[in-house]
């Protein structure tokens, strides 16, 4: 009964979404206030019924209802309850429902927080989001019904959740990632609504900017968590693989990075308008493309969902309608008069343009690399896989290119600045960091490494520039209010995100250059050395888990004669599926990780073992956290709240005017 109720809720949500996609939109063109006023109510209605469906699916998982096909395929009675919960989205059907749930969550947030916006705008935004919900609910209902039953031959027990996914990281990684993916639908909807109204102005940018920052922040956190999960769960200590599924989440992030910066220019200066709209469309289109690539089976990957060409065709048609439709709308309605160029080559606008170009090119580069195997296959030129060498060769220089500008950007002035002023501001940081780069790279590892020195130079340049900027804001200007209050939330957020980016770059370069690893056979009481660390294999044992049996190896790690850690890597055999998983043991710290993973048993009392020393690998994820939280903090800026309350008064007037015109 519960699955059927879930199915019915999903159908009701679909019908409400149809209404949301059609009625307020129609009303906005007919100046029908009653129709437009329906938008928030319908949006909340869709959310409620999707939430009910999601809750009922969760109940099916928690109560081991193996008559439901996805439960039988992805859960097991022995599975610990927390993983039964995360198993809800550890499969295609359930994760699609999570997608829709998060979309409706964003819809509700927009409906509740945008009462100050003009009614025509808000009703169009919600209608566009409603249409997206229609597409995904139809996808779920027609091709991927999560409530499908196996009533005739109900299995006695489930097939178990893929052991790779039985991990705390998976509980929060997909929801965070989807918050970002799906959140990009908000700036998309604002862009479409603005195109429909033909009014692409600064206020449109101001409205969509906090939403964009929040979505992009979640996407950053989601990607960061994914990388961390891959590092400790896949068992070979890598943290980024340029795998198609990773790229699927990375491309919207890159495009989102460009969008976040471009929106700043459009809000403050009213330029780059067409470009910003295009970026908003692209960013969300790339999330849809990611969904297509992951779920259609077009590309092979370690973590693609079960592939089904029919589902692929559905998403492709949906993709064609959404992206094709919005690009057509763009072609017809984008501002026909190019915004007058009223900024100099030496100005903040120009620097942000550099950011936009670099990140747009980076997106294209990753897109080409991801689709290249598909292109070759499509023209029957053979099966290819594009590996990390290509991505690193093109991506790393692009990031190195953008970093020098990251310091100048925040201190530069809009419209017209002077290189002399830049020199004056930044000469000291430049000198300091050049010396430090050489010294630090030397002391850090005992030998000069050009790449590490360059990374310290670029990352340090960004950090020192940011520090200089913070210092200047705190010390200069009139006395009065407490000085820290002069730092706005958006400034603090930007600062954190830039420092985080520098930390990611530094961590990535150092860990790639200075990782040490040994693969060897070890028996009990044998000792292996790795750099300054000694790894002693003390004993081998077996330990039962809730739904697996584990072979454990106990290692004692010592440094200059002192024991610093006991590491216990495991090899788990999961009972239901018989799959074998490597569980690495990691001793983590800010400056280095020690990483031990078991390979295969060799004979009765020895194992193939991989030992790794990974310096500064944590910086990658700390940096990712700073980027993500920095972006979230910007949305707290008082100016958005102030704008909202101020524009509330204006709204009524604007609405009247618009409605008057429409009549």
């Amino acid at each position: 009964m519960i699955p059927e109720l879930g199915h019915v809720s999903l159908i009701i949500a679909f019908v409400l979404a149809l209404g949301l996609g059609a009625v307020p939109l129609w009303g906005s063109f007919r100046a029908n206030v009653a129709a437009m006023n329906l938008a928030p109510t319908l949006a909340v209605g869709v959310s409620v019924f999707v939430a009910i469906a999601f809750a009922l699916l969760t109940i099916s998982f928690l109560s081991d209802d193996f008559s439901v096909a996805v439960v039988a395929a992805n859960s097991n009675s022995l599975l610990p309850p927390i993983f039964k919960f995360s198993a809800v989205w550890g499969n295609h059907e359930g994760s699609l429902l999570l997608w829709v749930l998060i979309l409706s969550g964003w819809m509700t947030a927009v409906a509740c927080l945008s009462s100050a916006l003009p009614l025509t705008m808000i009703s169009r935004v919600l209608s566009v989001m409603g249409l997206i919900a229609v597409g995904f609910l139809a996808f779920s209902l027609l091709t991927s019904n999560p409530f499908e039953r196996l009533l005739l031959n109900t299995p006695l027990d489930g097939n178990d959740l893929n052991p790779l996914l039985q991990d705390p990281g998976l509980i929060i990684h997909p929801p965070l990632l989807y918050m970002g993916y799906v959140g990009l639908s908000v700036p998309f909807a604002f862009a479409i609504a603005a195109l429909l109204s033909g009014r692409l102005d600064a206020s449109w940018a101001r409205w969509s900017r906090p939403w964009t920052n929040v979505a992009w922040g979640f996407l950053s956190l989601g990607i960061m968590l994914g990388s961390w999960w891959a590092y400790y769960e896949l068992g070979w200590g890598g943290w980024w693989f340029w795998d198609p599924v990773e790229n699927a989440s990375f491309m919207p992030w890159l495009m989102g990075t460009a969008l976040v910066h471009s929106l700043a220019v459009t809000e403050k200066r009213g330029v780059f308008r067409s470009w910003t709209v295009l970026l908003a469309i692209f960013a969300f289109s790339l999330s849809l493309l990611g969904t297509f690539l992951v779920r259609s089976g077009v590309l092979t990957s370690v973590h693609a969902f079960a592939a089904d060409p029919e589902r692929g065709l559905f998403i492709l048609i949906f993709l064609a309608i959404v992206v094709g439709g919005s690009l057509l709308l763009y072609a017809l309605r984008a501002p026909s008069v190019a915004s007058r160029v009223n900024y100099g080559l030496v100005s903040r606008e120009a620097l942000l343009m550099v950011n936009n170009l670099v990140f747009a090119v980076a997106t294209i580069v990753v897109l080409l690399g991801t689709l290249f195997p598909l292109v070759m296959d499509a023209f029957s030129l053979g099966k290819y896989s594009v590996g990390p060498p290509y991505f690193n060769a093109v991506f790393v220089p692009l990031m190195a290119l953008v970093m020098p500008f990251m310091t100048v950007g925040p201190i530069s002035r809009w419209r017209e600045d002077s290189t002399r002023r830049w020199m004056h501001e930044l000469l000291v940081p430049a000198a300091v960091i050049s010396v430090l780069a050489v010294l630090l790279s030397w002391f850090g590892s005992g030998a000069f490494n050009l790449w590490v020195a360059l990374a310290i130079l670029l990352a340090g340049w960004v950090v020192l520039g940011v520090a200089r900027d913070v210092w200047r804001r705190l010390t200069q200007g009139a006395q009065g209010a407490p000085r820290w209050r002069r730092l706005s939330a958006s400034f603090i957020g930007m600062t954190l995100a830039h420092v985080g980016f520098a930390a990611v770059v530094l961590g990535a370069v150092v860990v790639s250059q200075h990782t040490e690893e040994r693969d060897l056979r070890m028996a009990v009481d044998e000792v292996a050395e790795l750099g300054e660390y000694r790894f002693a294999l003390k004993r081998l044992s077996q330990a039962p888990g809730p739904n697996y049996v584990a072979d454990q190896a106990v290692f004692e790690v010592s440094h200059s004669g002192r024991v610093i850690a006991t590491l216990i890597p495991e090899k788990r055999r999961y009972l239901a599926s018989g799959q074998v998983m490597t569980e690495a043991a990691i001793e983590a710290s800010l400056w280095r990780d020690l990483y031990v993973a078991l390979g295969e048993p060799i004979g009765a009392d020895a194992w193939a073992v991989r030992l790794q020393y990974k310096p500064m690998v944590r910086w990658l994820w700390l940096g990712g956290l700073l980027i993500g939280f920095g972006a979230l903090i910007t949305a707290l800026d008082r100016r958005y709240r102030a704008q909202l309350s101020r524009s509330a008064a204006v709204t009524a007037a604007v609405d009247k005017q618009v409605l008057g015109l429409a009549r």
Binding site: I281, G324, D377, G578
Partner: protein
């Protein structure tokens, strides 16, 4: 209206065409290493009787060789269709892949047995020789015992009618043996 406005739309249209083409390609359609060659020689135990058999035991032909296991969910999905094919007279040989014998016997007792014979490949050695990608997989052996076709994934009516029918013209159509 400036033409360059339509540029993004044009580029997207090309991309969409490419993706559409991509849908009809199966990335798992790795050519079987032994396509057109004789079934690899082996000597392995049989699931439900004593003793070992070799490739000559795969008779009558043409026949299907179905790679399956109890740990494989998709195998459960395709099982009813295999029963249906067996009922129509298509000879099916099972390759029980990296599985537990007791569980496999229980499976057949519970769900029905479409197989003429089940070869037990507990260590996966024959699977290695065949180039098995994952269960389920189904191979076609022609009269001479050569591997002439390979299908990765669930075998169902649509797949059978599209790719397998030419080797089983008589048994293939529904109700032919009734």
């Amino acid at each position: 209206m400036p033409v360059k406005r339509f540029l993004p739309l044009g580029i997207f249209a090309l991309l969409a065409l490419l993706l559409f083409r991509g849908l009809s390609i199966d990335p798992t359609a790795l050519p079987a290493a032994r396509l057109g060659q004789p079934f690899p020689e082996f000597s392995l135990p049989v699931l439900q009787t004593e003793g070992t058999v070799g490739a000559t035991a795969l008779d009558p032909r043409p026949a299907l060789v179905n790679v399956w296991a109890t740990w494989c969910y998709s195998c459960r999905v395709e099982h009813p269709y295999l029963l249906e094919l067996a009922r129509r007279g298509v000879p099916i040989f099972g390759l029980n892949y990296k599985d537990d014998n007791d569980k496999a016997r229980e499976w057949l007792a519970q769900l029905g047995n479409p197989y003429r014979l089940n070869v037990v490949d507990a260590a996966g050695t024959l699977g290695l020789d065949l180039g098995v990608y994952g269960a389920p997989e189904t191979y076609v052996l022609d009269e001479r015992g050569d591997i002439v076709h390979r299908h990765v994934g669930v075998l169902d009516q649509a797949v059978f009618e599209r790719d397998f029918m030419r080797w089983f013209p008589r048994q293939g159509s529904q109700g032919a043996s009734d």
